[in-house]
Symmetry: C2
Subunit: 342 residues, 2 copies
Amino acid sequence: MRIFKIFSSAAMLIASVASANAQWEALPKQAPVPSDNPMTAEKVELGKMLYFDPRLSSNGTVSCFTCHNVMEGGDDHRPTSIGVHGQAGGRNAPTVWNAAFLSTQFWDGRAATLEDQAKGPPANPIEMGMANLDATIERIKNIPGYKKYFENAFGGAASVNIDNAAKAIASYERVLITPNSAYDKYVNGDKTALNAKQIRGMETFASTGCIACHSGANFSGPTLPTGTGFFQLFPTYTNNTYVTTYQLMDDVGRMSVTHDQKDKNLWRVPTLRNLVYTAPYMHNGMVKTMDEAVRVMAKTQLAKDLTQDQVSDIVAFLEVLTGEFPEQVMPRLPPTPGDLLE
Amino acid sequence: MRIFKIFSSAAMLIASVASANAQWEALPKQAPVPSDNPMTAEKVELGKMLYFDPRLSSNGTVSCFTCHNVMEGGDDHRPTSIGVHGQAGGRNAPTVWNAAFLSTQFWDGRAATLEDQAKGPPANPIEMGMANLDATIERIKNIPGYKKYFENAFGGAASVNIDNAAKAIASYERVLITPNSAYDKYVNGDKTALNAKQIRGMETFASTGCIACHSGANFSGPTLPTGTGFFQLFPTYTNNTYVTTYQLMDDVGRMSVTHDQKDKNLWRVPTLRNLVYTAPYMHNGMVKTMDEAVRVMAKTQLAKDLTQDQVSDIVAFLEVLTGEFPEQVMPRLPPTPGDLLE
């Protein structure tokens, strides 16, 4: 997996270039789909069921939905998530909304695809607590009602396997996109979609340099090949109180995956869409408001102290990145045999 | 609150009468509605949001939905439920489906109405863990997006209060009913809706005496005034191994509410609808299969040892009490301020 760090320490310089050539992109109406997992209604249906099913966790209490609540911002509105047995994880749950546009998954990019990501939490002892992925698929097999949905989606009696489960969940996640924000409408030509303050915020977002990293349709960096992460050093400028106040260097980020010192405090650049729904902010959920998050980022990544007006304008712009959430019908989950959970 | 125990120790005698006059009732298409909380679409909408909102619990992880999963059987498919901080409760989560037809709520009938019931779990330290109901409504007030939904449902700026929250949740629960089971169709005149085995099971259910307690459209006893519980002694016959194997007398039941010795091991008669979805069974979730539940009930309540054929027929009948679950659109929950949860 290649690592893009081209902006990291020279962020200000690059930023000034970026602002001049700011390319504003609307979110596509459809997410990219890998050739080995084409979208079908049957996969999305099964994936939605699995996504909402807490029986994929050891004690039947934690589903994908628990920490990635699609009824709100696709996260869990907590600083860090709570898994089975009340255990707290170490990082803020990234939103599942528009995750399909990211070229790597997890804050540290340790999964290349949504399919790979889906196989992470079930066997994580803090998250869903299953012994391993074999135990996870065994659990699914022990819910007989799932069989026909796997067969409908993948064909064949042997279709209940962990790869297919992950493909189904990923397929469901690829419909979790939020186009048609006021920003998208504006970029697509509706000049009445934003007011003067929001447009000023958009310009300040570019001229300040935020867009150097938060570029592209998803504000999470340039479009890269799947598995190629767009990582940045955070914090870049460490001589400020935010770094200690918000414990920004306590977690080594991508280095926890690669064990390579050069990856210390590198993080995948997150989307800025739907931030209205995803407080608190940062990889550790320590920053509570969008205003403060903007100040923290300007100082730590661009060495800039923004005025309150600049902060207010940028936040007004970030607020119009709130998209339309597709109406979703609740899945019906198959019945539980009485001896499924002890 | 009056207590109906008329059947308890004379169950067999009454049962033989009941079987002769078995009145088979279909589930009404609408649940009863109290005069002080008429149904409106606005209340149902707000109630659905609150029902699915884990922010009503202390650490933001447990909602009504967590233990009463309407995507499945309206329970949590666990023996007993898990609340905040991984704490296990003492009783099996009763299904929310068709709870609107019950004249009292909770296994021990400690709430007269759905409105009263809704005020129980939030301030229960094991369930949702809020300090009290004041803290619960404070939490809701701290999510500004709820205000307009309360005003739409109840009118007035002071409408965000715990009574209205409970009324809204109860209104949502009153749409959670499952008519049109094969049984209902049969009772309504479609004689092809059940096969010979299912009809035989229906007759055995009556002749064995099950219907003495599990009577009425909801198979949870006769229609009684709201707040009037239909309680039964369970186990009635204690000289059998089921009582010890399944620890049936460890929980004193209604006596835990009244502290009256005569209420020891008295329980509200639960519905038998949708049992396919609600394993494991009994107030403590100790009985894993419907077959075994039928054997346990026949022995402990009717002093009868059923043949395997009788058990199989009764279970075939119970299976056709599975109704149609109304299609539900997921609610959209309002955004979280970043300082809502610590």
